[in-house]
């Protein structure tokens, strides 16, 4: 568990998009983000108070979270200065970068000397068990996509917020580095050793109250040949009661795979449900989340209506229109 609240490190971010981890934390866990730390040349702005390390410590910040992608696969000397100073000033560090903090000898030395933690959220730190498949108490909803990067994390977080708004018990369960940094805890599933993937998902979504929903962040796609094994482990380890199907309607081919077209929502529905019912025969698909960012509002409305008519499931764009109907479908079960 990463200690909150955070100071969000934006470094010398060349654009707003490169700070999307920081943006995610600010959007979904604003109570954890006391401020932002920007270096000269930083173009990104999360609309948080700019703070020095000292000011952030005074405001209660406990962890400096790297909320920006780095360039060129290295942690630059300029970044390094701030990271070391942060350890010395009393911060833990947290990062989802491919370059691990723990692989930087100077950071390790200062962390050891100061007694502060280096959190590399891409690296599992738990000895996950082999999945047992035993039926667990509580309820679980998993987002599954026709492709990678179609809005599964966003949809899952939005559903958690809607549950909480209604005073209902629900927990976002992060399975990727951005989700883990947002929530402070989770399983970096793509970095888990094959034999323990499904077990790590079981570990992440344990027995719970009967009326509690675990909202499990999906990864990859059953139809994405590079990552389908990860998706499978989520479906079987998560033993979901409900699936929310996620789709981006304008994509020409599977992400990173020019030779592979996207499956239909019908194909995803049928396949994901069949696989989910191996672990939980009571599973149903309960809704559809469409990322219509590439469509005009009228096109988006027409598309959602068409899909809803065709699939017979509540169909929304979570970003544009909210997830009330997706949550209704869960609470009415």
């Amino acid at each position: 568990m990463i200690k909150a609240p955070y100071l969000l490190f934006l470094g010398d971010a060349p654009d707003q998009l490169s700070a999307k981890v920081g943006q995610g934390i600010k959007d979904w866990r604003p109570e954890r983000a006391v401020g932002q730390f920007r270096m000269p040349g930083c173009v990104a702005d999360l609309g948080l108070p700019d703070m020095s390390l000292n000011e952030a410590r005074s405001a209660g910040a406990k962890t400096l979270v790297i909320g920006v992608a780095n360039r060129g696969g290295v942690i630059s000397p300029e970044w390094k200065k701030t990271l070391i100073m942060a350890l010395e000033e009393g911060f833990d560090l947290a990062s989802g970068l491919h370059n691990l903090l723990r692989d930087e000898p100077d950071l390790v030395a200062v962390a050891n000397a100061t007694g502060h933690a280096l959190h590399d959220v891409r690296v599992p730190h738990v000895p996950y068990p082999i999945a047992k498949g035993t039926k667990r108490s509580g309820k679980r909803c998993l987002t599954v996509g026709t492709d990678c990067s179609v809005g599964k994390m966003y949809t899952t977080l939005a559903m958690e917020r809607e549950f909480r708004k209604r005073g209902l018990a629900a927990t976002f369960r992060a399975t990727g580095q951005t989700g883990i940094l947002i929530d402070g805890v989770g399983v970096p599933l793509d970095a888990v050793v094959a034999d323990f993937m499904a077990g790590s998902v079981e570990w992440l979504t344990p027995d719970n109250d009967d009326d509690h929903w675990d909202l499990l962040e999906g990864q990859g796609s059953l139809f994405h040949i590079s990552y389908s094994g990860v998706t499978m482990a989520l479906i079987h380890g998560g033993q979901p009661d409900a699936l929310v199907l996620c789709h981006e309607p304008t994509r020409g081919h599977m992400r990173g795979l020019p030779d592979y077209g996207l499956p239909s929502l019908e194909a995803l529905h049928e396949l994901a449900l069949r696989l989910a019912r191996v672990a939980n025969p009571a599973c149903d698909a309960t809704g559809i989340a469409i990322n219509t960012a590439a469509l005009a509002e009228s096109e988006a409305q027409a598309y959602l209506k068409e899909v809803e008519g065709r699939m017979g499931l509540p169909t929304v764009d979570p970003f544009r229109h909210g997830v009330e109907r997706l949550v209704d479908a869960l609470t009415e079960r």
Copy 2:
């Protein structure tokens, strides 16, 4: 690649079954096994010449392969003496044990001092890529099971032998530790990090001659919730042209999962084929391998006939009746 030929270390094996790795090597790669090394109390016997380390070196042996399971999760002091002596006498060591050779400081020290290798085949040693999904040349056949441990490795190795007997080009591709020790090379798929599973299978089955068959050892089962992600990576990374369905007809529940019944062969056929066609639309199921060890010969014959009539695919017990018909189905494609 583990250097052949081998001296097979059987230690103090308490029974024949505990030496099944050694038995597999002797059965499938007899040309690699110059002899067996047995300690006092060893009950297993592979029918190979008993040799001292010296005698085996004189007979050309280059690697001492641990062909036996260990007890109690430790490498005993008695074993250790022989392993250290083997390194000193000029052997490499190879092991598929859960306890890694590399975690034993004395073995590491002697290996470093003598310049000999410690092969822990459970541990990947290649930086596998992310799967690309590009169509590869050559042909591939994958064994898929209704459950774990239903004869996938045996069937795959038997098909390779039959191909070679006919003078046809085929290569067994090992994906588990026993298969790797038998063949000297392969991918320990259950120990590969999730993101790289399918990529490791692509790496294992690269472009090849148009008439060459890669015979890819299956793992797990799409219906085994603990390991289904691994199976999925094999189906998508292997982009098989042909699937051979494997089944054990008397099993009451999925291996290690008392609450889960076995799927029908029809369910396996339909699901595996649908998933395989994401990566290779030309894939077909071409045969069925049944492990009838628990049935009397007449029962086995009746069962095979019944399945063949029902499924419309050549159906054999590879151990009892050979795999000629499974190979016919591949060569006739």
